[in-house]
Structure formats: structure tokens, C-alpha cells
């Protein structure tokens, strides 16, 4: 009797959820070893299930396992590490590993966009803010998870629900002729210069699609970003007129500043 892949995945996620629950930072660190063991077991089991039931051998399969392992392990460390700066750096590692997975799917443009936007801009800003916000060691709210049970339940139930559907999706199975699965390759690149050294890249294809089929979405994103910029400008404080004398601030008796009448 063969068990369906969905149930195997549910089991894997249950084990992984318990492991991550035990790993989440809390006051007493008694169950960390058990949590690490469970999480590693779930990771290994997930990779085995993927290898046996879904992926099969391919020329880049080894890279997939390496980068998937790095991404998952780093993602777990993002939520379990007690120090926020390290969490943010593990997030950078997740982003880089996922970008590598995208390169394996020949989605080079998406991969490098992910790195430029997330690792290069957004997370640097996060790290900047975290470093400035916490200069006196670790705060209590960082060393203890606030709602470990609810968080783990919500996250892993969601993941299991999504992964359980994978079995029923009509995904293209890999073969020797086309070892790459996924939707990216089904976009046919048009007008690419043919040559011996030219791999079929997808920057041109993505650009064509974004500028024709999805142009409304693109414009809406632009409007949204513009609104965000205007909001940031409006929120970012009052202007100090340079050519006017500054208001004279008076220091009161108990050391607080008092605004003059």
C-alpha cells in the first residue's frame, strides 16, 4: 500500500512544527536539543519525500537540495534566533538561497531582482534600524517568543495546506529532455539573439510581459509606490525654516524642555 504524498507531507510538517515550537526562544532553554533534532529530522524527511516522490534526478538536482536546505534552515533561524541582528542576517541568507533556487529555474531576472531589492535595499534598512534601536543588549521581547504555539500552528498549518495540494497540481514532471520544471520556462522567449554562447535568458521576456499583458498592474504598483513616497514625505516631520530665527527653548527646573508661550 502506498501512502499519498500529501499525507507524508502533513506528517513532515507536523514534526517540523513541533521542532520549531521547541526551538523558539523562551525563558528556559531546556528543550533546544530535542527541537533541533526534530527540525533536522523534518528537514531531512522533507527532502527525501521531495526527492523520491516529486523531483527525480536532473542535472541541477544536487544544487536544488543544497540551496533548499540552506534556505529552510536559515528561515528557521530567522524566527528562533534570540538576537534581532542575527535574525535579519539569516533573512538575507534566505533571500540569497531562494535567489539561487530561482536561478536553477532559469528565472535569473527574478533572482537578481530579489537580491537587489530585498538583500541590497530593504534588509540593509532593517539592519540599520535594528542596530540603532538596540544598543543596550537584548530586550525581553526578543529573547522570548510572544505567542509560540499560535504562531507555529498558523504557519505550519498554512504551509501544510499549500504543500498538500502539490500532489494534485498538473505540474510538468521533469524529464531528461527538459529538466527544468515550473512556469517560467513555459514563457517562450521571443526575439532573443541566437548564438552559441547565448543562454535563453528571460529579462527580455519578463520585460515584454510586464509592459504589455500586465501593464495595468505595473502602473498600479507605480501609483502605490508614489503614494507611499508622498506619505513618507508628509510623515517625516516638520521643516525647519533656515532663514528664520529658531524658537528659543527653555529648560525647566526638572530638566524638561518647555516650549515658550
Amino acid at each position: 500500500m502506498t501512502v499519498s504524498t500529501s499525507y507524508l507531507l502533513y506528517l513532515v510538517f507536523a514534526v517540523g512544527g513541533v521542532g520549531v515550537y521547541l526551538l523558539l526562544p523562551r525563558a528556559q532553554r531546556s528543550a533546544r536539543a530535542a527541537g533541533t533534532l526534530l527540525a533536522l529530522a523534518a528537514l531531512a524527511a522533507l527532502l527525501v519525500v521531495l526527492a523520491v516522490r516529486m523531483l527525480g534526478p536532473g542535472p541541477t538536482a544536487g544544487y536544488f537540495y543544497v540551496f533548499a536546505t540552506v534556505a529552510l534552515a536559515a528561515a528557521v533561524r530567522v524566527v528562533t534566533h534570540p538576537r534581532p541582528v542575527h535574525c535579519a542576517l539569516y533573512f538575507v541568507l534566505v533571500v540569497v538561497a531562494v535567489a539561487a533556487l530561482l536561478v536553477l529555474q532559469r528565472a535569473e531576472f527574478l533572482a537578481i531582482a530579489l537580491i537587489i531589492i530585498y538583500a541590497g535595499a530593504i534588509l540593509v534598512t532593517y539592519v540599520f534600524v535594528i542596530m540603532l534601536a538596540q544598543q543596550r543588549g537584548d530586550a525581553v521581547y526578543d529573547t522570548r517568543a510572544r505567542e509560540p504555539l499560535l504562531g507555529v500552528l498558523a504557519g505550519f498549518v498554512l504551509m501544510a495546506a499549500m504543500a498538500g495540494q502539490v500532489d494534485r497540481l498538473p505540474l510538468p514532471r521533469p524529464s531528461a529532455a527538459s529538466p527544468f520544471t515550473g512556469a517560467v520556462l513555459s514563457i517562450s522567449p521571443q526575439g532573443l539573439p541566437a548564438g552559441p554562447a547565448q543562454l535563453p535568458g528571460n529579462t527580455l521576456t519578463v520585460g515584454q510581459l510586464v509592459m504589455t499583458k500586465y501593464v495595468v498592474v505595473l502602473e498600479m504598483t507605480g501609483v502605490l509606490l508614489l503614494v507611499a513616497i508622498i506619505g513618507a514625505v508628509a510623515l517625516s516631520g516638520k521643516r525647519v525654516p533656515v532663514d528664520q530665527p529658531p524658537p528659543t527653548w527653555v529648560v525647566g527646573k526638572i530638566g524638561k524642555e518647555v516650549k515658550p508661550f
Binding site: 531576472f109 541590497g120 535595499a121 540599520f128 543562454l199 529579462t203 525647519v240 533656515v242 524658537p247 524642555e257
Partner: protein, 403 residues
Amino acid sequence: MPVVAAIFQTQLFVSVALAVVALALILGATAYCIYFERKVAAWIQDRMGPSRVGPWGLFQPIADGLKFVWKEDSFPAHVDKLLFVLAPTISFVVPLVLFAAIPWGGQLDVGGGNLVEVQVANPDIGLLYILGVAALSVYGVVLGGWASRNKYSFFGGMRACAQMLSYEIPLGLCILVVVLTMGTLRLEQITAAQTGYWLGFIPQWNVFLHPLAFVLLFICMLAECNRAPFDLPEAEQELVGGFHTEYGALKFGMFFLGEYAHMITSGALISVLFLGGWHLPWLAWTQPDAVSWGAALCKIVVLCAKVCFFIFVMMWIRWTLPRFRFDQLLRVAWQGLIPITLALVAWTTGLLYFGVQRSPLWTLWGNVLILAAALAWVARARTPVTGRQDNLPPVGAGTGGAG
């Protein structure tokens, strides 16, 4: 041995060989960059410079390198050890990884009519790869400053973070001007597209199309390399040593070499984007149809000469110009460079619509107009562009007023 010959003729073999050779050469070149820097500094300041180790002091970098290696690899007691080691590693590795996408020597005929690229990798996203990986280099400086647990280091790291984030935007916009003009992200194609001539004698280098973008890109690259006058993160007079105050021995050496490797990469990138890469006018061996071994070598030498030129200019600037103040530095980026580069991108987009983006007449008109508009704006602005902010609320006057 046909099998061995076939292996030698593949792109993979050329790529791997080039990666190994380039890595070794660049490691040596960074060491000699430091020697060159000291000699240039001495020349500008009317001194001798290093002259004791070997003839003309030529073995000085080797002695310095040995000293870095043999010193005690110490950790201050209070540092975050993992990040303390990770930071110089990032600073050192990122510029080296960037070399992979630089087209060193065009195409090469390895025998049997097989053309391979003298380039480690020629990805479809070439320029974006360089932008993306270069964006990671900010982590080295920031983490070095933070992991040291030292206020001076921390200030250096924070300055570096704000500075590199700010200057990445005009840098990307300048590169976008080139991408819009050339219509490709592949550095090899960008180089090859610059090999023609206008009026039969002016090489079609992008610097003649967009001189303004060229200058602004060079300024941004100085800031990205933390070179003077943008070396606020390691300002000795203010921050002891900046982000590397707590570093010594090999870890400091890696920061040091990383900075020079970053200079070489920046020089190579700006040469490829604006000065035609390996192309030199009227030299038959540097034309795109020259594919012999000698031609490839000649192209590599030409590109290296251009890189050396940029490194010399960077050093010249360092020993000539004083450092910015930090508010001036950020104001230059946000109120000066970003509007100008945005206007350049908008102008180039307009030219692209009419299909004249590679006509020097139109691009030069745009450059002149934008420069004139910027100067007029500065002239009629009521607030001084530089100068002390005497009218801000006094220090310690609460949070109500400071903008």
C-alpha cells in the same frame, strides 16, 4: 589527443582558467595598488614614499602582507565573534565575485573555429548581477562596525550604511542610462556596441554620448568604494579608525584588500560602460573581429590600462580633495545627484521613444540642458548648498524642532 584538445576548447575551461588566473592576478594587483597609492601620495606630497624594501620599495607589499599574516589574530573580549569574522570576509569576497561578469578580452578563437568569450560568465542579467552583488558589500562595513561593539566603529558602520544606500540610487540610475541607450544588460554586447566610429574618427564610446552620466557614475563609485572625499566611514580624525578600529592582522588586511579590489572592479565596470571596455580606436587587435590569442591578450592589456587610469584618478582625488561633512555628503546625493540622474533617465527614455537614443547630438543636448538647469536651480535657491546650519535648534533642545 583530440579529447584533451576538445576540453581546452570549451567555454567552461576558458571560464575556469580565467577565474583562476584573474583571481591570482587581482590579489597581487590589490597588494600593488597599496604600494601605488603610497607612491602617488608621496609624489603629490613631494616625498619619497616606500623605498627601503627591494628596488624602489617594490617588495613593500609583500613585506606588508607577511606582516598581516604573521601578526596575532586577536579578538577583543566584547565582540560578536561570528559577525566579527564574517564582516571582513564579505568585504573581501564581494568585489572578487564581481569580476566574473567583466568582459576582459572579447571573443577568442580557441581553434577549429570555436569562439569563446574571454569572460568568466556572460549571464543574461550581466549588469544587474554586478549591481546586485555589489549591493551586498554594504553588509561587510556595517557588520564590522556593529560586531566590534565600539562606539567609533558603530558610527563608522552607520555612516557607511547611510552613505552606500544613498549613493546606490544615482549609481543605478546612471547605469540605467547606459542600459536604455544600449538596449542590453550583457556587458560583452555593451562593449561590442561601442566599437564603431562617428564621422569616421570619434570612437562610439558612451562617454561621448553621456558625459554627465559618466562623471556622476564615477562620483557614485568613489562613494561606494568609501574613497576620499567620501571616506566618512573611516575618517581617522573623527572616528579613530572608523568601522575597522577593532580589527587587526589578517582581518584588517582583508578589509584593506577588499577596498582596493572594489576600486579595481569599479574601474573595470566604468571602463566597460563608458570607455568601450577593451576597445581602442585604430588598433586592429582591439576590434571585435580580432579573435586570435594575441588579440585577446592585447584587449586584456587595454582594459587593464583603462582600469589603472581610473585607479590613478581615484588616488589623485584622495590626496587632493578634503573630506565632505556628513550632511553635505547626503545632501549631494539626495538633492544633487538623484534629481540630475533622474532627469537624464527621463531624457534618455524620451530619446528611446523616438529611436534617437544613440545619436550624440540629442544626448549631448540633453546633457547640456540638464546641467544648465541644475546650475540655474542652485543659483536661484535661497538656501546655501553648503555651509553650517547655524539656525537649527541647539543640541539637547528636545525633539520638537530638528528636522
